[in-house]
């Protein structure tokens, strides 16, 4: 009684194909700095390789099965007055075949999978250890061999294997640097590990991937992969940031300002060619005022400015080289002077719920604090 309309003849897959075309327009991985599809390390390539294989099998099955479905929809369309089709209840041979074929495809996927599982779980030899500690909502990085602490921007030497020992200071997080490795969950009271060997230099984003409270979305970080020489230079530079010394040593900041403009691919300026020689441009009245404010406004209660022998268990990120980081507020807010001042003045507006309270810092005070922190390269 319901005659078929021509509209009903439209291909069942047409909307799907539309969506596919639209999605393809925006799916080229080069457009995404945080993509997992362009691996830059041995570890990430293991997963990428397995993923490619499963994807091509899945694509083949998709085309065959959806094709069969579309064929059936058009070929076997009937009318109410048509005679009853023959009443087939099953066919054992066919049913055995279509049980076995998927089993064989899965076996083909299982082989590289199991190989990949054991490869990614192998402990690398002679790797450099970096301790990762997840905090609500920022990342602490410690280099135990050099006794150096930093936050939210992890320096690694390209071409060398790093092994991460991962812990949490509070709740469960997940450490995810997609260009270099998959995720590794971050637990309080349970160490997890991750490793990779980066094969190129540059600055690459990552972020927390396990929901961890109000600012989970703003718990990002960057991995800065540099040449082994630049890495040694950076370690040497960070080693100069020891515990506060008597007056003369206060003027330690470097002028390695090009770090700050870091975009993907920017390299670390050899910090060793500008040790304490060049006077920092920001240094002056603002710097001195900022130094004083840092003590009096309570910043010191949560933040340390020393990279060497930094105290453990602070609830705010280490700021020893905050002036040189590409981003602030845990890896998502570009580290411009304007952003840094706003962040100091009203953290609860910039990142609601963050553990840093609004401290009633005035515009002038923020400028001074910015100058002081900017000098911490």
């Amino acid at each position: 009684m319901h005659p078929r309309t021509t509209a009903a003849r439209r291909r069942a897959g047409a909307p799907l194909l539309c969506a596919l075309a639209l999605a393809l327009a925006g799916c080229s991985p080069e457009r995404y700095p945080q993509t997992a599809l362009l691996p830059l390390s041995d570890f990430a390539r293991i997963g990428d390789h397995v993923q490619d294989q499963t994807f091509y099998w899945a694509l083949g099955v998709f085309i065959l099965v959806e094709g069969a479905l579309l064929y059936a929809v058009f070929r076997f369309r009937g009318r109410p007055e048509d005679p009853e089709p023959s009443q087939i209840h099953g066919n054992t041979t066919i049913e055995i075949i279509w049980t076995l074929i998927p089993a064989l495809i899965l076996a083909a996927i299982a082989v590289p999978t199991v190989k990949g599982i054991f490869e990614t779980n192998a402990t690398p030899q002679g790797a450099m250890t970096i301790e990762v500690i997840g905090h609500q909502w920022w990342w602490e990085f410690r280099y135990p061999q050099a006794d150096i602490t930093t936050a939210n921007e992890m320096f690694i030497p390209a071409g060398q294997t790093v092994e991460l020992k991962i812990n949490s200071g509070d709740v469960v997080h997940s450490f995810w640097p997609p260009r270099f490795a998959g995720k590794r969950d971050v637990f309080p009271g349970r160490e997890t590990r991750l490793w990779w060997k980066a094969d190129s230099t540059g600055l690459y984003p990552g972020q927390c991937a396990e929901y961890c409270g109000i600012q989970h979305a703003r718990m990002a970080f960057h991995v800065r992969s540099v040449s082994p020489q630049d890495f040694e230079a950076w370690i040497a530079h960070m080693k100069t940031k020891g515990p506060p010394k008597p007056p003369p040593a206060a003027a330690a900041p470097t002028a390695g300002d090009s770090l700050r403009t870091a975009s993907a691919g920017a390299k670390v300026q050899g910090a060793q060619d500008s040790p304490t020689a060049a006077p920092a441009p920001a240094q002056g009245a603002d710097y001195a005022a900022g130094e004083k404010l840092f003590m009096t406004k309570g910043c010191m209660g949560c933040h340390s400015l020393q990279a060497v022998g930094a105290p453990k268990g602070l609830i705010g990120p280490n700021l020893a080289n905050v002036g040189a980081r590409s981003h602030i507020a845990a890896g998502w807010l570009p580290n411009t002077d304007e952003n840094l001042e706003r962040w100091i003045r009203e953290p609860q507006t910039v990142k609601k719920g963050v553990l840093m309270p609004n401290l009633g810092v005035t515009v002038e005070e923020a400028r001074a604090l910015r100058a002081y922190l900017r000098a911490h390269q």
């Binding site: 700095p33 099998w57 929901y211 600012q215």
Partner: protein, 622 residues
């Protein structure tokens, strides 16, 4: 088949039609309880959809401030919790309630008052879960509530309590219902209906009840331990006290993975009813369909750690859970091929339910294949907790469960309400839903693999996620619109006279043998079954069609009396959890009073008048 309007006279001397609010509160009729389940679940489904739309608006722009981070976190938590526990599960319960007794040829479920109790507990649990919104303290730690974020230290408000207690209440409802349907299916099938003659929907429902019975105690235990951590100072999940947050993850997913099959198996059942009816051909490979369902359910208890590959379990555990997960693809593939086999060489009648059933197959295939992709741990380390996973499970739960349940809604609507939903609007609903669904969720595969994690209230512009998120938001609005069309269809249909014949689709199962809607006692005479498609066989014997059935008076048929004690007892159950939640403030009194109410309700229920003399020995059919 003719669709002349036939307003069937329901002149029952023995069972006068009951109306009014009180009749709904005291009803023990499985069909009315089914309608209550359906209406409540559909309301929650719309609520969960609204939450999703707000989420999509927030994500339409980078660094957006449409809603605050707290609100976003509450919305994504409640969207997931609502859709799973308050929409898909009870929509399935609607079909269990309405259809299982009809399809097995019974007059009601085994325990009619327990059935009413299940519904009232479910309703109160759903309200409890959502009550947090009224106090600005809706649950905000995800539907999976990972420890130790849920501890008092990191979640001092009542948000987690609304979630914890709400789920415990809902668990009571699910377990009571599961016992009921299990017993009903085992004991109350019509003469001749062996297990291997049961309709496939009943089979899938049966397996679902087993899953519920085995999986829900696990989450109940976990929730009680969490409650102890939060209220009585224990440290099951708190590392500072020697506990382990990872323990929660194991508890949760031992429940959580079977839960996925609890959500999808009834949908498999619906599609396995709709496809044969509109292909005019029996279900292909009935036995394979039964055993693949059993196999999926069995394996479903051995794959839980595939949700936890990123926790670093080591190569042996990773390998085991990876391979067991891959195995599930085999019985699932068998099901898809058997549905194709059902359509093959058929005479396909493209009515609205068939559109949704075919849409289900097309979408579920995509969700199944992406599922195989993350059964491989090296790849899953990247995919886990990204929008790739969000895409996957929406293809399974929306493309799967919701498409199938919508097919079921159009298919059984005439049986339940005696009115045919409009075919034109139904097809508009389908195309809008298919388009909106794919626009919303297909780009999520790409945005996920390109680095967008889940459960983030915003993203910075420099990560490049904006365009795909905008497409997704447009899609979600279309998806919302498609359900507006459905609502219009329901509204318009409800204003028309009853026009549905008993058997509008040429069905094969027993429910189509009785008037639409069925009389309270379902069958004037309990049917005798001698095959898998009893009604088709009867029609064949009768030369193609059967005369329109006319309900009798129901005289001489025993039906359980209405009772308000199930509702009273349900209030006691819900009040108990309110009492526990408020115990820091009220002391033990809330608990004492609610337990008293609970026992009063139970006592009155057990010794309710009219139920002792109900067991007449000559009552046929059991």
């Amino acid at each position: 088949m003719a669709t002349t309007a036939l307003d069937q006279p329901h002149a029952h001397a023995a069972h006068a039609e009951k109306t009014g609010l009180w009749s709904w509160i005291t009803t023990v009729d499985h069909k009315r309880i089914g309608i209550l389940y359906g209406a409540t679940a559909f309301f929650f489904f719309l609520l969960g959809g609204l939450e999703a739309l707000i989420i999509r608006i927030q994500l339409a722009r980078p660094d957006n401030n449409f809603i605050s981070p707290e609100t976003y976190n509450q919305l994504f938590t409640m969207h997931g919790t609502t859709m799973i526990f308050l929409a898909i599960m009870p929509l399935s319960s609607m079909l269990f309630n309405y259809l299982i007794p009809l399809q097995i040829g019974a007059r009601d479920v085994a325990f009619p008052r327990l059935n009413a109790f299940s519904y009232w507990v479910f309703l109160l649990g759903g309200l409890f879960l959502n009550a947090g919104f009224l106090f600005g303290a809706a649950p905000d730690t995800g539907w999976y509530g990972y420890a130790n974020l849920t501890s008092r230290q990191f979640s001092p408000g009542h948000n987690v309590d609304f979630w914890n207690m709400g789920l415990q209440v809902l668990g009571v409802a699910s377990l009571a219902a599961a016992v009921n349907f299990f017993v009903t299916i085992v004991n109350m099938r019509a003469p001749g209906m062996t297990m291997m003659r049961m309709p496939m929907f009943v089979w899938m429902s049966f397996i679902t009840q087993v899953l519920l019975l085995l999986a829900f105690p696990v989450i109940a235990v976990a929730l009680i331990l969490l409650m102890f951590d939060r209220f009585f100072g224990t440290h099951y999940f708190i590392p500072a006290g020697g506990g382990d947050p990872l323990l929660w993850q194991h508890f949760f997913w031992v429940f959580g993975h079977p839960e996925v099959y609890i959500l999808i198996l009834p949908a498999f059942g619906v599609v396995s009813e709709v496809l044969p009816a509109f292909s005019r051909k029996p279900l292909f490979g009935y036995a394979a369909m039964v055993f693949s369902g059993v196999f999926i359910a069995f394996l479903g208890f051995g794959v839980w750690s595939h949700h936890m590959f990123t926790t670093g379990m080591g190569p042996i555990a990773d390998t085991f859970f990876s391979l067991s997960t891959m195995l599930i693809a085999i019985p699932t593939g068998v099901k898809i091929f058997n549905w194709l086999g059902t359509m093959w060489f058929g005479s396909l009648q493209f009515r609205t339910p068939m559109y949704f059933a075919v849409g289900f197959i097309a979408m579920f295939i995509i969700g199944g294949l992406s599922g195989v992709m993350h059964s491989s741990p090296p790849a899953d380390l990247q995919q886990n907790d990204t929008y790739f996973i969000v895409a996957h499970f929406h293809y399974v739960l929306f493309g799967g469960s919701i498409f199938a349940l919508t097919a079921g809604a159009y298919y059984w609507w005439p049986k339940m309400f005696g009115r045919m939903l409009d075919e034109g609007l139904g097809k508009v609903h389908f195309w809008l839903m298919l388009l909106g669904f794919n626009l919303t969720f297909f780009p999520m595969h790409f945005v996920g693999l390109n680095g967008m994690p889940r459960r983030t209230y915003t993203y910075p512009a420099e990560l490049g996620f904006t365009l795909l998120n905008q497409i997704e938001t447009v899609g979600s609005l279309l998806l919302g619109l498609s359900f507006l069309v459905f609502l219009i269809n329901i509204f318009r249909t409800s204003r028309k006279p009853r026009n549905a014949p008993a058997d509008p689709w040429n069905g094969a199962t027993l429910e189509w043998a009785i008037p639409s809607p069925p009389p309270e006692w379902n069958f004037d005479r309990l049917p005798v079954v001698d095959g898998r498609d009893p009604l088709w066989e009867e029609k064949r014997k009768n030369g193609g069609r059967l005369p329109e059935p006319v309900a009798g008076t129901g005289a001489g048929i025993h039906l359980p009396n209405p009772s308000y004690w199930p509702a009273v007892t349900a209030v006691g159950v819900a009040a108990l959890f309110v009492g526990i939640m408020m115990s820091p403030k009220w002391g033990p009194w809330g608990i004492v009073v609610s337990v008293a109410l609970l026992f009063f309700g139970l006592y009155s229920w057990l010794f309710e008048k009219g139920y002792s003399e109900f067991r007449t020995p000559s009552h046929g059919g059991h």
